[in-house]
């Protein structure tokens, strides 16, 4: 840690004017790589711990410069556009450099910590007015714990409010120090069912719940969040179990958010060359979300909110 300014992180997005990742106006830093592999993941480009190449159909002008440039013949022109042969592609990024239309993009850039910090600090006044700050998210930020810790220290020095957005799927040895550095933890509890949790996320439920308890023990403010995924996490029973766990074990929780599923990320899966089992899934109705929120409130939580894109009234009637 002598030379912290040399530290680089693998980042797939820095989103300014971010309004759904904690209080106020924030800048969210998305770190690449995750310990879980939930089938519903909304940021599939955040799962893999190395850069990935994607092709945007709507931006492509079809000049073929990328294909000519690729020395490994990993780009193939088809009737459906440019297809990336991911077995050949080394994600060298040369094609993206020659594509001035921006149709090819490497997701995940090695970024120097000072540059990341400078971008975050540009919106300092907006944080001050709105009670916002920076959110370290991912992926799972603890997978790049050196970078995350260094960035959080820098931000502490600047007096910027820090939220750490974690799935909890990491040993406390690594996660704990990051939690210490944060002002607020955005904590995902997706499912309270040992078997299903392990099946869907690849991580034992106990680890997630244990980490949550430890965060509560040191009195760190927490917002718990549950993504409501049809067929996976959307049963009233599941929401009740999460709520019960919060009531019984997490006194430092300020808020419980249930987040309605949407399929806006379908295109991302396609661009990564993957199909997605949820792409045909409909959004939930407002009523269903209200019902889940009510179920959580019935367990004694007073700070339950739901958000996200829901089915319109018209669609509900269909």
């Amino acid at each position: 840690m002598n030379n912290s300014t040399e530290i680089e992180g693998l980042i797939f997005n820095i989103q300014r004017d971010s309004t759904e990742d904690g209080p106020g106006i924030r800048t969210t830093v998305f770190l690449k790589g995750c310990t879980m592999h939930c089938p519903w993941c909304h940021n599939p480009e955040g799962i893999c711990l190395s850069p990935e190449l994607v092709w945007f159909e709507t931006r492509c002008i079809g000049d073929g410069d990328c294909i000519k440039k690729c020395s490994r013949e990993a780009l193939i022109r088809t009737r459906k556009g440019v297809v990336i042969d991911r077995n050949r592609c080394t994600v060298c990024g040369e094609c993206a450099v020659v594509c001035h239309a921006g149709a090819l993009e490497v997701l995940g850039k090695k970024s120097k910590i000072d540059d990341v910090a400078a971008t975050i600090l540009r919106d300092r006044v907006f944080y001050e007015k709105s009670g916002g700050g920076v959110t370290i998210s991912g992926g799972e930020p603890s997978l790049q714990d050196d970078f995350s810790a260094a960035l959080m220290r820098l931000m502490r020095g600047e007096g910027i409010h820090i939220a750490l957005d974690t799935c909890g799927g990491m040993s406390w040895d690594i996660l704990g120090p990051l939690v210490e550095l944060a002002d607020l933890i955005l904590y995902d509890i997706k499912l309270v069912d040992e078997e299903k949790h392990r099946q869907y996320t690849g991580i034992p439920l106990e680890m997630v719940l244990d980490n949550a308890r430890k965060i509560a023990e040191i009195n760190k403010p927490m917002w718990v969040r549950t993504p409501v995924i049809p067929g996976y996490t959307d049963s009233e029973d599941n929401i009740r179990r999460v709520a019960r766990f919060i009531v019984s074990s997490l006194p430092s929780v300020d808020r419980y958010d249930i987040l309605a599923f949407n399929s806006t990320c379908t295109g991302k899966y396609h661009r990564l060359g993957r199909s997605w089992e949820l792409e045909e899934t409909n959004p939930l109705s407002e009523k269903a979300m209200e019902k889940l929120a009510a179920a959580a409130r019935n367990e004694g939580l007073t700070f339950v909110q739901w958000s996200g894109l829901t089915r319109s009234e018209v669609q509900s009637e269909e």
């Binding site: 000049d63 309605a260 295109g267 959004p283 319109s312 018209v314």
Partner: protein
């Protein structure tokens, strides 16, 4: 100041018309479905009056024209109306100000359409105006038929008489004499080769009518004021002749307004005789109000509203329905009446709301140019918070009517403004566009820079699109004469030549681009072009202004403006307390992006020579699509990127200096302004390819907004960029247009965050911002034509997406939730 604040409306009340009072719903529907008709009455009566007064002074002729019109024109009281008065004999038409030009769009259209089988599109094409016509011709719901009589009256009586007498004809003659310009056609429209334009319309732009004076004194009081002045003249020498003429014209005009109101009183009385029940009472009350106002000061809320409306009507009749006459700070004017009526039980909040809705719908009948801004909020003359219950009422009116045509609500925000007022103003974006937010701190600073007193600066109103002026104390003259910065930048790269002139030199011969050795040389050539265009524009405008002052003064309007009756001069001759000229422009982002692109590829990266770049531009990037794409990804204004923002500030500053170098001929300053209504389309059509990657003919950026779709880093970055530009005193206003997905402010939490964004933008020194909620129509169109919306971003659950990158199914979900109504 105490307030009861807006009662929050239930979602249904806003999104469902059935919650509007029946009467209001009818008015709204009537307006929305009215069909445009040519209205020749004003032209007819003014022509008659001018023919009869050939040897009279200009002041008297103008007053006689008004008197003839106000006493002769058709008047009517519509079913269920409580506030009466109409500027036109037809439901959807404008009184035409023929004095400016016989090429008025309505006249051109009428002549063009007569006996022709043209389509609406062809008709609009024929209107010319370089795009302005097309943008503003939304009023053409179907093609107007004009009768043979109307055609023959226009062709035989009206046009032959005015042909050589209009402002346009006289200033062209004067310009030729003074050698201003050789190609007189060149400056007739936006997008012309010279890169600057003047307007022949009174009052050389737009202004706030002196509502406060009318409420305080009544037109009888104004007439008395003029009489006393005339009295004081007795026995004085001939030298005061002009003042005498002016005061006489004020007297005639003020009396004509009083008789106009009396005609409405008489009509209401007549109608009452035939009416029964509630309507009979209503008509009798209308009669009583019209007997009282605007002759005398109003005694209650309804009289005040009637007085305000009829004053607007006569102002529009007097100077033509195509002018933009703003009423100013109506919440300030109306509050004392509202408070008193409320306290004495004369009116309820609901009744006042309904009356204001009726007024607001009437205000939306300005059909050729819009919008009509009502100013609310802000601080008062003493610097104290001025928000009151009527300010909230106007927000509710706007919300309930979901905006109204192109009416704009200019909402002033100061550090003293109650937080819930700003919140309420932002709340309107859930359901309607049309609210613009102004930062008192910055606007007042700018106005002080123009020479306004602190008290008068604090009392500013918004007129036209976004232009701040004093309230009822100045000559207006906002957003008028203009230059196109981008046209001048094009000339700077082409030795004064322009795409639209076939690269023939129009501006001064600056050195060829091939000789530019440093980026500084580029800037220098631009300054030379800019300086020369502003000089020419000012010289041409001065001559044109003198034509207006000599031939077409504005006695009625002047009589309401502080300083005029006092000084014996009207507003076209420098009689107002404050006088200022204006030169506007609107393509800031395109020029800044283009300069940044030149700097990067030619001077920083040395990818190609200046000469080659210019050649590529002249060829419209033919066979150089890759170069163009490269230019497209060079930093763009609106993303908080210093590389280009610094240039945007430099351009604004250079433009500010060039404009402010000139003194206005009436005294006072020339004010700079950065807006575009549709001019960015017209100017864009006349421009070759630009270094920012824009192809020839494509629109340029609008106001101080980023070029189309260039904002990629969210609102915080956009505001940071814009705030830098706002540090330069563009006192005649700047427009920052932002497309907003109404879903962003759907929840209370989302709304709170949105409000804090605005607060921060203003704390950073942003001047103004207006949000155009993305409509369903836009989204549907983007779905169908993705190529036209490369950078349409939608925010869903905090994530920004390029709309066209989403799958159709997801797009449909978003469309279904975007229940926006933008009329």
């Amino acid at each position: 100041m105490a307030n009861t604040s807006g009662v929050p409306l239930a979602r249904e009340e806003v999104s469902d018309d059935s919650y509007l009072p029946e009467r209001i719903k009818k008015f709204k529907d009537r307006l929305a479905s009215a069909v445009y008709r040519l209205d020749l009455e004003r032209v007819r009566y003014y022509t008659q009056a001018y023919k009869l007064t050939e040897n009279e002074p200009s002041y008297i002729r103008a007053a006689m024209g008004l008197e003839k019109t106000l006493t002769s024109m058709t008047i009517r009281i519509e079913d269920e109306e409580l506030i009466v008065g109409s500027k036109s004999a037809v439901a959807w038409g404008d009184p035409i100000y023929i004095e400016a030009s016989v090429n008025h769009p309505h006249i051109k259209l009428a002549l063009d359409m007569y006996g022709s089988g043209k389509s609406v599109e062809e008709a609009l094409e024929g209107m010319g105006g370089g795009g302005l016509g097309v943008e503003n011709a939304a009023f053409l719901r179907e093609l107007p038929n004009i009768s043979e009589e109307e055609y023959s009256e226009l062709a035989k009586e009206i046009i032959p008489y005015w042909k050589n007498k209009t402002v346009e004809a006289r200033r062209i003659a004067l310009w030729e004499k003074e050698g201003v310009i050789t190609d007189r056609k060149a400056i007739a429209s936006y997008g012309n080769p010279v890169g600057w334009i003047v307007t022949d319309h009174p009052p050389q732009g737009h202004l706030t009518v002196g509502i406060k004076k009318v409420l305080d004194m009544g037109f009888a009081g104004i007439a008395l004021q003029a009489e006393q002045k005339l009295e004081g003249l007795k026995g004085q020498a001939e030298s005061a002749k002009a003042a005498k003429d002016f005061w006489e014209s004020v007297l005639v005009s003020a009396q004509a307004v009083c008789s106009f109101a009396s005609r409405y009183a008489a009509l209401a009385g007549e109608m009452a005789q035939k009416a029964n029940g509630q309507r009979k009472n209503d008509l009798l009350e209308i009669k009583e109000r019209c007997l009282r106002v605007p002759m005398e000061p109003p005694r209650n809320f309804m009289e005040a509203l009637q007085s305000i409306w009829i004053t607007q009507v006569v102002a529009l009749i007097s100077y033509g329905g195509s002018s933009i006459i703003a009423p100013g700070r109506l919440d300030q004017f109306l509050y004392p009446f509202y408070r008193k009526d409320l306290d004495t039980g004369r009116i309820t909040r609901e009744q006042a709301l309904e009356a204001l809705m009726e007024y607001y719908i009437k205000l939306a009948t300005n059909i050729y140019f819009g919008p009509n801004n009502v100013t609310i909020g802000g601080i008062d003359r003493d610097g104290e918070d001025a928000v009151n219950d009527v300010s909230y009422l106007f927000l509710d009116v706007h919300l309930r009517l979901k905006g109204c045509m192109r009416n704009g609500l200019a909402v002033r925000i100061s550090p003293k403004t109650p937080p819930d007022f700003l919140r309420r103003a932002c709340y309107t974006y859930r359901y309607a566009g049309g609210v613009a937010l102004y930062n008192d701190d910055v606007v007042i600073r700018d106005l002080l820079f123009d020479g306004y007193s602190l008290e008068d600066a604090r009392n500013y109103s918004i007129v036209g699109c976004v232009e701040p002026t004093g309230t009822g104390n100045n000559n207006g003259y906002t957003a008028t004469n203009g230059i196109s910065l981008m046209a001048l930048f094009e000339a700077a790269l082409n030795e004064g030549g322009r795409y639209v002139s076939g690269w023939k030199p129009i501006g001064p011969a600056t050195p060829p681009a091939s000789s530019f050795e440093t980026f500084h040389d580029v800037k220098e050539a631009f300054i030379k072009q800019l300086s020369s265009a502003v000089d020419e524009c000012v010289r041409a405008a001065d001559l044109k202004d003198r034509v207006i002052a000599d031939y077409y003064p504005l006695p009625l309007l002047s009589s309401t403006i502080e300083g005029c009756v006092e000084s014996g001069k009207d507003i076209t001759g420098g009689g107002a307390r404050y006088n200022h000229g204006c030169i506007t422009n609107g393509s800031l982002a395109t020029v800044a992006n283009s300069m940044a692109a030149v700097r990067q590829v030619v001077f920083d990266q040395k990818l190609l020579s200046m000469e080659e770049l210019v050649r590529r531009l002249r060829n419209n990037f033919q066979d150089a699509e890759n170069l163009r794409r490269q230019m497209l990804v060079i930093p763009k204004y609106g993303n908080d990127d210093e590389y280009v923002d610094e240039l945007a500030v430099w351009i604004t500053s250079a433009y500010n200096q060039e404009v402010r170098k000139h003194k206005f001929w009436m005294g006072g300053v020339y004010r700079p302004c950065i807006i575009s209504v549709a001019t960015h389309i017209a100017w864009g059509a006349s421009l070759g390819a630009s270094p920012d990657g824009r192809v020839a003919g494509a629109p340029i950026a609008n106001g101080i907004s980023p070029a189309n779709g260039d904002e990629r880093n969210g609102l915080t970055a956009l505001f940071a960029s814009a705030a830098k530009v706002c540090s330069i005193p563009m006192s005649d206003g700047t427009a920052l247009n932002v497309i907003l997905n109404p879903l962003t402010v759907r929840t209370d939490e989302g709304l709170s965050k949105f409000v804090s964004l605005i607060e921060t933008y203003f704390a950073l020194g942003g001047r103004q911002v207006q949000f155009n909620p993305m409509s369903r129509e836009t989204l549907l169109d983007a779905q169908k034509n993705p190529e036209r919306y490369p950078d349409l971003n939608v925010k869903v659950s905090g994530f920004s997406f390029r709309f066209i990158d989403l799958t159709i199914k997801v797009q449909n979900d978003i469309i279904a939730r975007t229940e926006f109504c933008v009329t």
